[in-house]
Subunit: 296 residues, 2 copies
């Protein structure tokens, strides 16, 4: 069986995610003297590729037009693109993957992906759906960091076609990259949960920023507003795509959130101190319990 340290990795899209994956693999998988593995990367951004190459993070770089040449050499391909671009890449490179290759993605929505890629999958290529739960306001290879994934959650969505040994290999890889908690689930549940933990939060943070009277409001900040809106330094095209690709789930969560907000509002309007205090006590208990399920 293939060992991680001797595999050829292909990173498609060398932004903050692809770049951090490349750096984490370089530092934690290919760092032993007898490792023969390599990291190849393709991106439209030549600057990112040159930086990664001169840093010794990647061994070979490819642009859009030569991506097929890279794919052909890879034992494991990490597609680090937006959801629709991931679907397009899988479709246009269907015939390029090496026999036996593992292909995985990082897309934040999965139902769309599963529905669209079925027709472009090959029996001799194992496509494993995955979602590294790490994000932030930063973008681009310039912000990539091999330690980015320390103590983070990773979601894997095993499909009927996935080979157990490939799933095991990917788990081994993500653990080596720093992820400490791997959750396995199906794509319906994934999209339902992520619409809450990720998309709803970005909607709330965005609405909160827009409801500010002016940008000088942070002069009156003590940390709360800053914490709630850090993710509002948002990548607009990416999140537009994520919101719309998971619309039904997201709208359901927004509605539930609005109901809770209304309940609080009513208690405040009615000056109902005891209802309010009971509500907040419950919030406190739940949030403390939630903390025990966080990877870090």
């Amino acid at each position: 069986m293939m060992e991680l340290k001797d595999m050829t990795f292909g990173i498609v899209g060398l932004g903050i995610m692809g770049g951090s994956i490349a750096q984490a693999v370089r530092a934690n998988v290919l760092d032993e003297p007898r490792a023969t593995g390599r990291i190849l990367a393709c991106d439209v951004n030549a600057q990112a590729l040159n930086k990664a190459k001169s840093d010794g993070v990647i061994d070979e770089s490819y642009d859009d037009s030569s991506a097929a040449d890279m794919i052909k050499k890879c034992d494991l391909v990490y597609i680090c693109l937006y959801p629709h671009a991931t679907i397009d890449f899988l479709a246009s490179h269907k015939t390029d993957f090496k026999t036996g290759a593992i292909v995985t993605d990082i897309s934040g929505v999965k139902t769309l992906l599963v529905e669209k890629v079925q027709s472009v999958l090959r029996n001799d290529v194992d496509f494993i759906l995955g979602h590294p739960m790490a994000g932030g306001a930063k973008e681009g290879y310039v912000n990539a960091n091999g330690a980015y994934f320390a103590n983070r959650n990773y979601i894997l969505l095993p499909q009927p076609w996935n080979k157990k040994e490939n799933l095991d290999l990917l788990k081994q890889l993500v653990s080596a990259m720093g992820f400490t908690h791997i959750v396995e689930t199906d794509y319906v549940n994934h999209d339902h949960k992520i619409a809450f933990t990720s998309q709803l939060c970005h909607v709330i943070a965005s609405a909160l920023v827009e409801s500010a009277e002016d940008e000088r409001i942070t002069e009156f900040g003590g940390g709360s507003f800053e914490d709630l809106t850090r993710i509002a330094m948002i990548n607009a095209p990416l999140w537009t795509e994520l919101f719309l690709s998971n619309k039904k789930e997201l709208l359901g969560h927004i509605t539930n959130f609005e109901k809770q907000l209304d309940e609080l509002k009513r208690d405040i309007e009615k000056d109902d101190a005891s209802a309010l205090e009971a509500y907040l006590e419950d919030v406190r208990k739940k949030r403390i319990l939630m903390g025990t399920h966080v990877a870090k």
Copy 2:
């Protein structure tokens, strides 16, 4: 003129705020060899007092029944209590303050305070309204930290009765404690702004926690939900008081926030990618600008 290093400070309420103030004053104001100043503290919690005394943070400790004895000795009294308790303390100790003393508070709502304390203020005691903008999920002296205020905002609300030299002295003190940005405003504006940066954020974080299906949701977390709800490990009695004491302003902000949420919801429902992307681009720009007004 009195110098900070030679003053007797009285801390009323030795929780996380009072405790952190005591530690910051000890470390940054009374740390020079020729300083003759002292820190006295009163609290109902004997354990907190003993700890602060054995740590060398405070010089003398007082309980509820002996608070008057402490107050009589102090050049500067820091009342670190909840809003209503602050009002009660000022009223019941009206005759105890030393002539010429500076008295200041940390209450998160001010209109209520200004309305209620007018009748208990003395001409020979200078009550200065202030609000250290530092907070978090932690409570109690056990979590106090002298470095808690580094790079934070401090709001001062000068009143007609305040003496300039006393305001200057307090500014000097809060700068020494680590605050890097002092904003001066009136109590109406304070309550309006704080209802947004602080209270609205706590309402949102609480509603978000309650709208979660279960406490295991954080297994699917990537940091966003965790960041948005850290402040939901909330002190229920304190925040019940703060919400209700600033009800009108808070309800106004909740309504504005709901309008923004509705706009986003409509764009998502209508699959309006261009409106959504434009909205998020605006959010991003605004939030980046807001970052330039943050003290740290």
